[in-house]
């Protein structure tokens, strides 16, 4: 449940950098995603035509504050998003580093508090730090979005142990791996680890065939979710034959 909403797909798709709106539309359909994220910082009020295409996709829209570097910018952008899309959902990004695009946890918590008090349902883009996670929940967030790796880097899940700890530490909070996913196997791994969803953009948008890649990611996320639900076997230190040795037919 993401703010009391059940999603039919656990893949969330970003909408930037596609070759064309038509290909974006086809990629969304092929991926099966029913949540898409949209940036506003640079497009501004005049980006209405592109936003209409996104609304027409029938997906639930999660506007984001990508490109914001301060609490004030992020809060202003969130208000603009609410006005333009008529939704309280906001993916909150407050960037700390221009190079790594790492979230600024201090500004993030402050912006999350301001927006939550104002009735927004905040999806904060954060690190895997447990204390920051707790502070975000205190501030009113009911979803956390830890990064897999820096935005657009395609490095996958860089800190597996930290992500495992986070999953164990917040068993009842929906956790979405956001950013850094480069391959369907990485998205699948996140789902196998018990994360609730995966959010990505570049890996699909900049693929040579975005629609094909969107389909691959959609299937990987479903497979990972099924595997997690079905219960993965634990790794063992020794070989265990799956076929009994006794009773084999002697093929002379």
């Amino acid at each position: 449940m993401f703010y009391d909403r059940t999603l039919s797909s656990r893949l969330m798709l970003g909408t930037a950098q596609y070759p064309s709106p038509q290909i974006l539309r086809d990629a969304i359909a092929a991926s099966g995603a029913d949540v898409i994220t949209v940036s506003l910082r640079r497009e501004g009020q005049e980006g209405g035509d592109f936003r209409r295409i996104l609304k027409d996709s029938g997906c639930r829209i999660l506007p984001n504050t990508a490109g914001c570097h301060s609490v004030r910018e992020a809060v202003t952008t969130a208000h603009m998003a609410r006005e333009l899309f008529g939704t309280d959902w906001i993916k909150l990004e407050v960037i700390g580093h221009a190079d790594t695009l790492q979230p600024d946890p201090f500004a993030l918590v402050e912006a999350a508090r301001i927006l939550s008090e104002d009735g927004f349902q905040v999806f904060p883009y954060t690190t895997e730090d447990l204390i920051v996670g707790e502070k975000l929940i205190e501030a009113g967030c009911r979803v956390l979005m830890p990064w897999g790796a820096p935005i657009g880097s395609g490095q996958g899940l860089r800190h597996l142990d930290a992500l495992r700890s986070m999953r164990a530490h917040f068993p009842d909070i929906p956790l979405v791996i956001d950013a850094g996913i480069g391959a369907p196997s990485q998205a699948m791994m996140a789902m196998e680890m018990g994360f609730d969803a995966v959010l990505l953009n570049t890996a699909v948008a900049k693929a040579v065939d975005p629609v094909g890649m969107a389909r691959a990611f959609g299937q990987a996320v479903v497979a990972g979710q099924l595997a997690h639900q079905a219960g993965l076997m634990p790794p063992r230190d020794m070989a265990v034959a799956s076929t009994p040795i006794f009773g084999l037919a002697a093929l002379a």
Partner: protein, 312 residues
């Protein structure tokens, strides 16, 4: 008489193709029409490079436009395109090579000695070229005038209308959207590049098109907005830092001009001819104006020629 509305690259190519087929043509631009955004274009004729992102149709058909332009304008330069990436972005070069055709790996210094020592590897697209949009449009205009084609502000007198007004035709084409593009023109006496350079960068890709006499066009941003206001500080910083990454001589360049405009685009970003009543729209040129206008204009002239023959 056929009336062509608009005198950007689409209108001029349409009028040229029609006039060359022997049809009587006039070109009408209302007195208050905005300057054509084609004037801000890079003027790259790069059907293979555009294969990264553009529909395969653009690569396949865009190739025809190279011969079309080289037969008609003086500024056309068949020098190819050199694609580069900084050492840490080498993977971008591999991705680009996979996404495109008709290139070979080169040492950039061998082609552009002024880049000596700066890039270890590049991709060269030998069968591409570039032109100077201002010169090309002026050439087409003067060729048309020589043929007796009249340019005026209206009212139009033709019985058929070919609407090449770009973004101004938006009211008639509801799925047309504007994609903002920002560009710079620099005078860089310390830089001596002879062909189009594309710098691949995960965040700030750019291209540099030589315009002769040490003038360079640096472009271009792509933002999904219909805000056609002046170039932003962000675009200036990004484009200049990307140009500087290609050649440090750009740091001492003089800024001649910074422009911003809206590329008219259909949802698939493919330029197209569309019929609406007795009007034919040639629109949605997106970033392919100079590459695709001759192709659509040739199609248009053939269609209208057939109609005339059929009507007679």
């Amino acid at each position: 008489m056929i009336t062509v509305l608009g005198a950007g690259v689409a209108g001029l190519c349409a009028a040229t193709a029609l006039a060359e087929q022997g049809m009587t043509v006039e070109v009408v631009t209302p007195a208050d029409a905005p300057d054509p955004v084609s004037g801000l274009a890079g003027g790259m004729l790069a059907p293979f490079c555009e294969g990264d992102g553009a529909d395969p149709l653009v690569t396949r058909r865009g190739q025809q436009s190279i011969a079309w332009w080289s037969a008609r304008v003086r500024s056309f330069q068949p020098r190819g395109t050199l694609v580069l990436a900084a050492a840490r972005d080498r993977a971008e070069l591999d991705r680009f090579a996979r996404a495109t055709q008709n290139h070979r790996t080169v040492r950039p210094d061998d082609l552009e000695p002024d880049l000596s020592g700066r890039f270890a590897r590049g991709l060269f697209f030998a069968d591409e070229g570039h032109l100077d949009p201002a010169e090309a449009m002026a050439s087409l205009r003067s060729r048309l005038t020589t043929r007796g084609v009249r340019f005026h502000h209206g009212p139009h007198t033709g019985s058929r209308i070919v609407d090449c007004r770009g973004w101004s035709a938006r009211a008639d084409l509801p799925d047309l959207r504007g994609v903002r593009g920002e560009m710079l023109e620099l005078f860089a006496p310390q830089v001596a590049l002879t062909r189009t350079i594309r710098l691949l960068h995960p965040r700030f890709p750019c291209y540099i098109v030589p315009r002769g006499q040490h003038r360079y066009m640096i472009g271009a941003t792509m933002v999904e907005t219909a805000d056609g206001g002046p170039i932003t500080a962000r675009a200036l910083m990004e484009l200049l830092s990307a140009a500087y990454a290609v050649h440090p001589g750009f740091a001492e360049a003089r800024l001649i001009h910074g422009g911003a405009g809206l590329r008219p685009a259909f949802p698939d970003n493919i330029p197209a001819l569309r019929r609406a009543g007795d009007r034919i729209h040639m629109n949605g040129m997106h970033r392919h104006g100079f590459l695709m206008a001759p192709v659509l204009a040739t199609d248009l002239a053939q269609q209208l020629c057939h109609e005339v023959i059929y009507a007679n």
